[in-house]
Symmetry: C2
Subunit: 238 residues, 2 copies
């Protein structure tokens, strides 16, 4: 893989760019305090919410459900959890606000500087399963300088479906070999590599909290470049 051939970097977002676990739990905790809702472990709640993420997309991936944006899937999962946790007295507006906690995620500390460096010589865009509004609102709040928003909604396919990667490259007018997928998840990179993209691994050993056992190191069978963070990735790509 020749870094000078890479014209664009696509990024996984949840976990790779932003710390969803800390951000969602903190957001919900603040909301609960304002509403006087007690007795819930919001860190556990955030993790349970995330556990419903893959199953909800599997309905779409399998073709059992027409393409549906992640904001809708997140809200449906939230309603399931609110019932399971027996949280009473929430209005539709409250549920909308809670569901949009996923629009208010904080980036890892190296992200802004790394993206600013990367975008000097290349196109940078998310290639996330999050929908356009989610990505735009997150970027405005967190200061993420994307050149455009790509991903599940523009490709109408959820990663790791091949179309999610291939349509994103095509929409940039680039061949897969001119595009690097960057993620903290080897599975995402394995799927991108299978479609001919270059791959960059950045470890996020705290994505799942202390004691994380997955994705602590790059899988050399599918990773072209591994970097400690986005700033090092920018330096490696040059």
């Amino acid at each position: 893989m020749n870094p000078s051939k890479i014209k664009a970097c696509l990024f996984d977002v949840f976990g790779t760019v932003v710390d969803w676990r800390t951000s969602v739990s903190r957001d919900l905790q603040e909301f609960a305090r304002r509403k006087g809702i007690g007795g819930i472990d919001w860190l556990e709640f955030a993790v349970e919410w995330r556990k419903l993420y893959q199953p909800s997309m599997d309905e779409v991936r399998s073709g059992r459900r027409a393409f549906t944006i992640l904001d809708v899937l997140h809200r449906e999962s939230l309603v399931t959890l609110v019932e399971r946790y027996r949280i009473a007295g929430l209005s539709q507006v409250d549920l909308d606000h809670m569901s949009r906690a996923w629009h208010r995620l904080d980036p890892w500390p190296d992200v802004r500087e790394g993206l600013e460096r990367l975008r000097r010589a290349r196109i940078i865009a998310p290639c996330s399963n999050g929908n356009i509004a989610l990505m735009v609102n997150m970027a405005k709040r967190a200061g993420l300088p994307w050149d455009c928003i790509l991903g599940a909604e523009t490709a109408r396919a959820y990663k790791p479906m091949p179309e999610a990667y291939l349509v994103s490259c095509r929409q940039l007018g680039l061949a897969p070999a001119e595009v690097m997928m960057v993620a903290a998840h080897n599975g995402d990179l394995r799927a991108a590599k299978a479609q001919g993209l270059a791959t960059g691994f950045v470890a996020r050993p705290l994505e799942h909290g202390p004691g994380q056992t997955t994705d602590l190191a790059p899988d050399s069978s599918c990773v072209d470049i591994a970097a400690a963070d986005f700033v090092e990735l920018a330096a490696r790509l040059g």
Copy 2:
């Protein structure tokens, strides 16, 4: 129309944000000089190319042709013109380069400052018939600080079809009344207004060169705000 209700501004691009006529003709002229192609009035050529723009999209709007991105339509129109002008000896790479003249358009002088001001309080995005790659490459070169790229390719509909406006609003998670369409063309604003969007008119009296007779003034039946340029528009919206 209450400016504080406007959460996003969508922009027409060709003519409103960038000066396509001067930019395309200058780009082709430089290319012709390098290639030693003489005897062509490239300003006329650019205008003739633009004349094939609406007919090429009409094939898609009418349903006679499946959705096809503007880069492809531009290139087909270019081939038509190259034959009409009897320009010989161009390779496929030459035609690709000439076709991408539309990626290398210069903004009007007020655009960058106006967009920077507008994006402080609002989402800004193109809602152009140009495709994603065209808009991204133009923005990188011209320094246009879009929050995301919307338009024909994301909506899979060419303006002034209703879907081009409505899908763009929906992809931002906003109601049409929360979105302002900004254009130098009353026809674009009439179509946006019919779908419930707010509208902003910015005159570009030199888009078609000296002696322009169209779109010199806003049509008050469909325009909410008229401004002399993007900086004034930002001040008016606050």
